[in-house]
Every structure is written in C-alpha cells, then in structure tokens.
C-alpha cells in the first residue's frame, strides 16, 4: 500500500499511481463539465499535460532504480492487482509521459466545439486512454495486463469514433475493434501457455517456469501474433491505415506515437523477460515479419493521397523496422552474443523513442492543417508554408527526423541498427551470416524510401502553390497547438543531438534483458557516439550539426561580404512558360507515380482512364491493398458462411430448443456413463 505519510518516502511506483489517478480524476471532472468547452480545453487538457511531465520526471528517476512491486486490493477477490515498476516499464513510462505531454498541450487547442462527441466525454476517453497505457506497462500479472489492455483498446476505440456520424469512421472503428480482439485472443492464449498449468498468472511465476522449447515457441508465436495485431505487423495491419485517419489528430498522434510502442512493449516483455529460453528462429521470424512489414508500409505510404493515411503507412514501416531490431537482438541473444544483442536492442528502443516523438509531431501537424483548411486530401493542399509558417517549420523537423536524416533522432536509431546489422559475421550458422547482410540492404532501401515519402508529404502540403483558393485564407495554429508541437520538436532535436545521454537511460534495460549494454563505451565521451570502439564506428551529431551550421553561416556572410545581397522578386521563370497554374505542379498521385509503376505487383490498382471520345473525361486511379482481397475478405466470407450454418440451429421455436437440451442431456449421459 502506498504510504501516505510524507511525500519523501513515496516510491516511484506511488508517484506513477498518483499520476494515473490524477488523469482519471481529470477525466471524471471532464464528464462533470460535459459541454463546457473552454474549461475542458484550457484547464483540463493542460493539467493532464502537467501530470505527463511529472510522469516523465518520475520515469527518468526510476530508470536506474531497482524494481518496485506493489499489490493493490482492486479487482476480484483472490485476484488483487500486481504492479511492478522496473527499468523496462520506466523506459516506456518515459515515452508515454514525454509524448503525451506534447500531445495533451496540442489537444488543448485542437478539439473544437460541435464536432461529434462532446468535449467532456472526449476528455474522459483521452485520459483513460493514456492512463490505461501507463497501467499496461506497470502490470505484473496477466489479469491486470488484460484488463488494462482492453481498457486501452476500448478507450481508443471510442476516441476513433469521435466523429461517429460519418459511416467510414464507423466502419474503421469496427475493423479496429475486430482486429484488436483477434489480437487480444492471441495474448490471452499466450499467457495461458506461459503459466504452464500452475494456475498462477503473475508474471513472477511465469518467469520462474522453464517451458519446453515447443511450448515456449508456441507462446512466443502467440505473443507476436497478438501484440503484432496491435502494432500493425503484417498481415494484421489493415485496421491501422483506416483507424488513424478516422481519429482526431491528437488521438492518432497518441495511437501511432505511443500505443504501437505499447504493443511492442508486449513483445519485449514476453519475448525477452517472461520467456527464459530463446531460440534463434524466433529472431529470424521477428526480423522477417518486421522487414516485410516495413517494406510494405513504406511502399504503400509513397502512393497515398491522404495526409493521415500516408503517415499511418509510414508508422507501419517504422514498427516493422523496430521489430527487425528486436528480432536481431533476439537472434544474437540466443547465441549468447550479448554486446551485439544489446546494440540491436538499443537501436530498437531508440527508434521507438524517436518515432514516438516525430510521428506524433507529424500527426499533430496534420491536425493543424486540417483545422486551418478543412482538407485532408493531399491533392487539394499546397503552399501552406506561407500562410502557416509555424506549423510548416515545426513539421519540417519532424519530416527530416522521419526521413532518417542526420542530425535528428531517426538517424541515430537507423545508424545504430545498421551498425548492429553490419558487424554480425561470426554467427554460428552460415545461413544466418548470409541472411543478415541482405537484411541490412533491405533496411537501407527502406530508410531511403522513407525520404521519398517525407519529401512528398512536406512538398505537397506545405510547398508549391496552393491547389485550392480557400487555402489562401488558412490561418496558422493557435498558441496551445504551437506549444505542443514545439515540445515534440524539442524532443526530436534532443534525441538527435544527445544520443549518449539517451542511451545511458536504456543501459539498465538492455543489461536486464540481454545482459549487455553500450554505456561503458558510450560513457568515454559525452559528445561522440561510439557503439563498439572508436576505430570501428563513431558519430557525433553535435559536431555534425555545428559543421553544417558553421559552413552555412560562413557561406552566407562571405557571399554578402565579397559580393552583395541584392535580390529581386519576379514571377517564376519555369523555362519561360508564360503562365502557370497550381494544377501544373505534381499532384500527390503524380509524385508517387514512379513508385507505383516500379512496385506495380505490390498494389491492386484500378484505373479509369478517359478515351479520346469522352465528352466528360474522368481520370480515376485507385490504389488498394491486395492483402485486403486475398486475406481479409476470404476470411470474412468463411466466417459469414459458418455463422449462417450455425444460424440454422436457431429456429426461434421453443420446442426445437427443448429438443437441443434433451439431445445434449442424452449425449452427456452417454459420455458420463462410460
């Protein structure tokens, strides 16, 4: 029980529980003030953000602390809540706190009056959502875990349905719920295998069990399936590109930035912590699924014509990369190569952290654009850097980070991942030795691809000429929105510039999970990132940035000194074309067209092209996910057919039902008799 005497004796866990309680209280107050929009926006959401910052501070100080446990007398009799705050949980709490602080601030300016769900209810759902994510991370038995997991799924489901009057949003929410529950079944079964017939569902008991390789493998595969459904791994990704655009932007930011990471936390918890055995093919499985997912995600994100769908596919890509990192770490760990395993795990964790920041930043920016223009289709945006400079410049940081460019956070993660893939020769199996460089090649390809996507996103939305007249009247984001985005930008920049300090935070996690860490090499120098040794590889983002900025400044000053700074504004030249309209720029389809052509077999493309004799020519190209047709629809058809057969049992006449009872009784008696 938390001691309530003086604050100084409170443990980290108590503080986390205080934050969670505070969030829930904020939610309840939101219900009380159901339609008092200004109060909810200006008081409740910023208050939630303050508690997020508190959570971040607690998590930072808990990162090095010894694990703390608590048993709360909640829930069913005989089944109290077991909670545990260890380094891994602390890392994820840090992620939750850091991102939700920015997103809550953004949300204070984002939610508007008269959009679907009343503001107070949204406030409740929102805060229950973040509170449940924090609790999932704290859970120390399968029971709490599942309760919180489902709370997370339900609260986010209702958030996705905020604008439930639109039919597409309803169907997106339905699909989301469906996949979430298919996944939850997998997780439940996984815990069932993990407790190994002891009937004790605490994680401490699961850690103590030594499963046979067969059962351990089943548990692992179930975990990958269950958590993968939530993380958007292939082939259970279909909900993600539908649910993200449907949700309000701060919610998509949280779902993509934080919730996907919580799903990966599940894989980490089960695969690295609860299961005591590690088998090499688990790593290969995770890597394979991860890289396939990443490639799929990035190829699809380049051809999207809607802002949020593009970002959603890009999230699929990033989750895939993180999974590949986890898989590699598992592979090394199964062969007892601790240093390399720690390197790969650090890369994956780093990617999670930086992706959380830049992707929520990008989703927030789509929200700001949506508010300013009412338009989410890339084909009708453009030129917003002139009317919305704040949003545009803040987004640029997120775009560069997402494209994996130095000196931002995304690059550090990618760099570490490539390093861990690169120095792998020496695996006992030559097949794996061959496999790993090929995977590195794929990662390089995916990383370069994401640059294409991000240039498309930023270029089409913010640069060029406005493709619609109303865009000229677009207004910049409000104070709260700017503040929230600024917070996330600061996160991206700090993650990019101070990798050593961030890696030091992950050291306890990697030490505990794979028994190795980077901190001993990293600690030698505060500005130079050296994962193995200095001759092998090093990277110094601060110097890197200084180099670019210095040469930039020098060139700027020198050009002005030696020559002049004269400038004239004229109409654009464009090779002497006398007039240009906004329609002559590349559209979103146009920009993605080369990729669509190269990766044609990936897509299911339906084209409607006008012939020369059409009076009213219509050009329509639809690019869809073939997996939807190959996998989801057939499964849906089979389910429908089965339920129709089962439905025939239900005649609606009492005599028939009595017959069933009678027949069952006879059968049971026969069985018992024997």
């Amino acid at each position: 029980m938390p001691s309530l005497t003086i604050a100084a004796t409170w443990t980290h866990l108590d503080w986390v529980l205080i934050v969670v309680t505070a969030w829930l209280l904020i939610g309840v107050v939101g219900i009380a003030a159901l339609r008092r929009f200004r109060f909810v926006a200006v008081v409740l959401f910023p208050l939630g953000a303050i508690f997020s910052v508190l959570l971040m501070a607690v998590a930072l100080s808990a990162a090095y602390a010894t694990p703390e446990v608590a048993v709360l007398p909640l829930g069913l009799p005989q089944l109290p809540f077991h909670l545990r705050l260890d380094n891994l949980s602390a890392f994820f709490l840090l992620l939750i706190g850091g991102v939700s602080a920015g997103v809550s601030t953004f949300a204070a300016g984002y939610f508007r009056q008269g959009e679907g769900t009343p503001p107070g209810l949204l406030c409740l759902e929102y805060h229950v959502f973040i509170a449940s994510m924090a609790m999932v991370v704290l859970a120390d038995d399968a029971y709490v875990f599942m309760v919180m997991w489902e709370t997370m799924a339900f609260s986010s489901f209702f958030l996705v349905l905020a604008n439930h009057r639109i039919p597409e949003i309803r169907s997106a929410g339905y699909l989301y719920m469906l996949v979430a529950h298919v996944g939850a079944l997998g997780i439940l079964l996984c815990f069932g295998v993990l407790q190994a017939n002891t009937g004790d569902y605490t994680f401490a008991n699961m850690r103590a069990q030594h499963l046979e390789p067969f059962w351990a493998s089943i548990a692992f595969v179930l975990a990958v399936f269950g958590f993968g459904a939530k993380a958007g791994l292939l082939p259970l990704h279909a909900w993600l590109p539908d649910a993200h655009p449907a949700a309000p932007s701060p919610v998509s930011a949280l779902m993509s930035g934080v919730m996907l990471k919580i799903a990966l936390y599940g894989i980490l918890r089960v695969g690295f912590d609860l299961l005591q055995t590690r088998i090499w093919w688990w790593g290969v499985l995770l890597m394979g699924v991860g890289l396939l997912t990443a490639l799929f995600g990035v190829v699809f994100s380049t051809v999207q014509v809607e802002m949020k769908r593009l970002l959603a596919y890009s999230s699929i890509e990033n989750v895939g990369l993180m999974c590949a990192g986890l898989g590699l770490s598992l592979l090394f760990s199964s062969y007892g190569m601790q240093a390399l395993s720690a390197l790969a795990l650090t890369a994956a964790l780093y990617h999670m952290l930086s992706h959380a920041f830049f992707k929520s930043l990008l989703f927030c920016s789509t929200g700001a654009v949506l508010h300013a223009t009412g338009e989410r289709s890339l084909g009708k945006l453009g030129g917003l850097i002139r009317t919305m400079p704040w949003v545009a410049w803040l987004t640029l940081v997120g775009v560069l980070a997402c494209a994996g460019l130095p000196p931002f956070g995304g690059f550090v993660a990618e760099w570490l991942l490539l390093q861990s893939f690169l120095f792998t020769t020496g695996l006992p199996s030559s097949f794996l030795d061959m496999l790993v460089p090929v995977m590195a090649a794929l990662i390089a390809l995916i990383a370069a691809f994401s640059g294409f996507t991000m240039v498309k996103y930023f270029g089409v939305v913010f640069l060029g000429q406005p493709r619609d007249e109303k865009l000229a009247r677009a207004h910049d984001a409000g104070r709260w929105e700017r503040l929230g985005m600024l917070w996330l930008v600061v996160g991206c920049v700090l993650l990019g510039l101070f990798p050593n300090q961030v890696i030091a935070l992950m050291e306890p996690v990697t030490q505990r999970l794979v028994g190795g860490g980077l901190a001993h090499t990293v600690a030698d120098s505060s500005w130079l990132l050296v994962p193995v040794n200095i001759d092998r590889a090093s990277y110094a983002p601060v110097i890197f940035l200084l180099g670019v900025v210095l040469t930039f400044g020098l060139a700027f000053v020198l050009v002005r000194r030696l020559y002049h700074g004269r400038l004239r504004r004229v109409p654009p030249w464009d090779c002497g074309h006398p007039w240009q309209t906004a329609r002559m720029q590349d559209t979103a389809e146009g920009f993605g067209q080369p990729i669509q052509q190269i990766f044609d077999p990936f897509f299911r493309v339906t084209k409607q092209q006008p012939s020369a004799f059409d009076d009213k020519p219509i050009y329509d190209v639809k690019v869809e996910d073939p997996l939807w047709y190959w996998l989801y629809l057939p499964v849906a058809r089979v389910v429908e057919k089965l339920s129709r057969i089962v439905g025939q049992l239900q005649q609606g006449r009492i005599a028939v039902y009595l017959m069933y009872s009678f027949a069952t009784l006879i059968v049971v008696l026969l069985v018992v008799k024997r």
């Binding site: 850097i385 994996g404 490539l418 090649a441 092998r536 890197f544 050009v559 002049h564 090779c575």
Partner: protein
C-alpha cells in the same frame, strides 16, 4: 588532435573548395575533345561562379524562406562531406564526427533540401525534377551504402579514415567483393552526379532533365552555390571512389612528407578519373527515365552480391 591534423583538415576543406570546379572543368574539357568540339577553358567553372555571384538574384514572388536558404544548406552539406572524406590525409580531426553511414546521410540531407526547394516555387519543372531526384535517390542511396558496407566488412569499420588506412596497408590482391562494389559504385556515382546515361548535365529545356530541373528557378548567388555544391559532390564522390578502391598515396598521421606528396597524387588520380568519366559519358547514350530504376537496381544488387561474396569467402 595534432597541429598537423588540424592543418590537413583545413587543407582538405580548401582543396575541396578549390579543386571541385577545376575537376568539373577538366571533365567538360575532355568531353568536348572526345566529342570533337572545341573545349572551354579549364578555368571556365570559376569564371561562371564569379559571374553568377556578381549578379542580382531573381526570386519568384511567392518563394518561401526555405527556398532561399536551401542553397546554403546544400553547400554546407557538401563541404562537410568533403571534409570527412580522406582526400590527402587520414589524420582528420572531423572524421570521427561522421562515418560512412553518416556521410550517406549527409548526401541524403542535401538531396532532400534541394528537392524541397525545387518544389517550393510550384512550377511544373521544379516538382518534376524533385520527383525524379528522389526516385534516383531512393535507389542510389542504399546502393552507395552497400558499397560502403562492402569496404566496412573487409576492414571491420565504418569510419572512412580507418577504411582507407586498412585498405592501403593490405597486400595487393583483388577482392571479388570490392570488384563488384566498384562496378556498383561507378553506376551510382553516374546517377548521383547527374551524368549520362542517367541525366545530362548539358541539357536545358528538355523533358528528361533531373538536376537542371531542380535548380531551374535559381539564379545568381543561389545558383552559384548550387552549382558549386554540385561540383563538390562530384569531387566528393570521386574521392570516395579513390579512397575505397585506390587508397594508396593518402598521408597518415604524423607524416608531413607524405602530406606534401599526397596532393600531386590526388590530382593525378582525379585527372585520370575525370578522363574516364568523360569517356563513359561520351560512349553511352542517355536512357529513358524508367530505365533508371533498373540501372540503379542493378547497382544495388551488385553491391549486395559483393557483400554476400565477402561473407562467403570470409573477406579479410
């Protein structure tokens, strides 16, 4: 960090700035000779730069600040890139700041900025150029990375200076993996530097242009910086090629004499390289834009095969 190290770092910077336009002029000269044209002077690129810097910059009415500062970013990226490539010495204090992967990242950063700037004005050619540049980039970048990885696998390092030192000290033997990587690298550098058969540095007003379409709207000092950056990119790529495949003659730490000798060696190697580039360009025809992914995909695959060969044969 020794005084000599700082000196060779400064030398590397100044050399990159000064030699880059000369290299461009040299390649142009050879190309004209090979094509039976009368060649411009070797110093023509300097004159052009000087002329451009003197002119008033004309900028589209609605261009954003991004458009104006992109040339400086691109220029800065290229200069930093040339600073960390061991051109005449491996004793570079800046070298630990960025290894081969970060170098590729630096090129990518420049590419993203130049493409964004091209999209900023919102003309048909600009966005077309940006799209094509990114199309070339998304295949060329991983291919370049794979070439670097081949060298890294052999030398056990991604630091460029260590790679050069290790490669220069090994016995003279042909590594099959490096051979494959070399072919891949040549193909990538042709594409990345907007050369025939991927792009034509001479054309304007042609629907096939890539690099020229990107900088079409730029004028005066901004154009000068872009062009200078482009020639530094060619210089940087040539130096990477020399560093990976012909690493001999590069000075190491505490070797002032070798440093003196390194400069003529570098100029000699670059001269040969420039000549070869002109020959390749003259001998090949420009290809359709949709053949470019095949071309670069081949380069990528070659580099990956190089990597695999290296793993198979045990590399070191």
């Amino acid at each position: 960090m020794s005084a000599l190290g700082v000196f060779s770092q400064l030398m590397a910077l100044v050399l990159a700035l000064l030699l880059a336009p000369l290299l461009t002029g040299w390649v142009n000269q050879w190309r004209h000779w090979l094509q039976n044209k009368s060649a411009p002077s070797l110093l023509q690129p300097y004159r052009t730069l000087h002329k451009l810097f003197n002119k008033d910059s004309l900028i589209a009415e609605h261009a954003s600040p991004l458009y104006r500062f992109a040339p400086y970013v691109v220029f800065g990226c290229m200069l930093l890139a040339s600073a960390i490539i061991p051109t005449i010495s491996t004793d570079l204090p800046l070298s630990p700041a960025a290894d081969a992967i970060a170098l590729v990242g630096l090129f990518a950063l420049a590419r993203v900025f130049i493409s964004l700037a091209a999209m900023d004005v919102g003309t048909a050619f600009g966005s077309m150029g940006a799209r094509r540049e990114m199309l070339v980039g998304f295949l060329a970048e991983p291919a370049l990375l794979m070439v670097m990885f081949c060298a890294s696998m052999i030398t056990g390092s991604t630091s460029l200076t260590t790679i050069v030192e290790t490669l220069a000290h090994r016995d003279l033997a042909i590594y099959p993996s490096l051979l494959l990587a070399g072919v891949a690298f040549t193909m990538v550098s042709l594409a990345e530097n907007a050369r025939v058969p991927v792009d034509n540095p001479d054309t304007h007003l042609e629907l096939t242009m890539i690099h020229e379409a990107l900088v079409l709207e730029y004028s005066a000092r901004h154009l000068a910086l872009m062009e200078w950056a482009a020639s530094m990119k060619l210089f940087a790529y040539s130096c990477i090629g020399l560093a990976l495949f012909f690493p001999w003659g590069v000075a190491e730490a505490n070797a002032p004499l070798a440093l003196l000798l390194a400069l003529p060696v570098l100029v000699f190697k670059l001269a040969i390289g420039g000549m070869l580039l002109a020959m390749i360009e003259t001998a090949s025809a420009k290809m359709r834009i949709f053949r470019v992914p095949e071309f670069l995909g081949t380069a990528f695959l070659l580099a990956v095969i190089g990597l695999l060969v290296n793993v198979l044969l045990g590399g070191t």
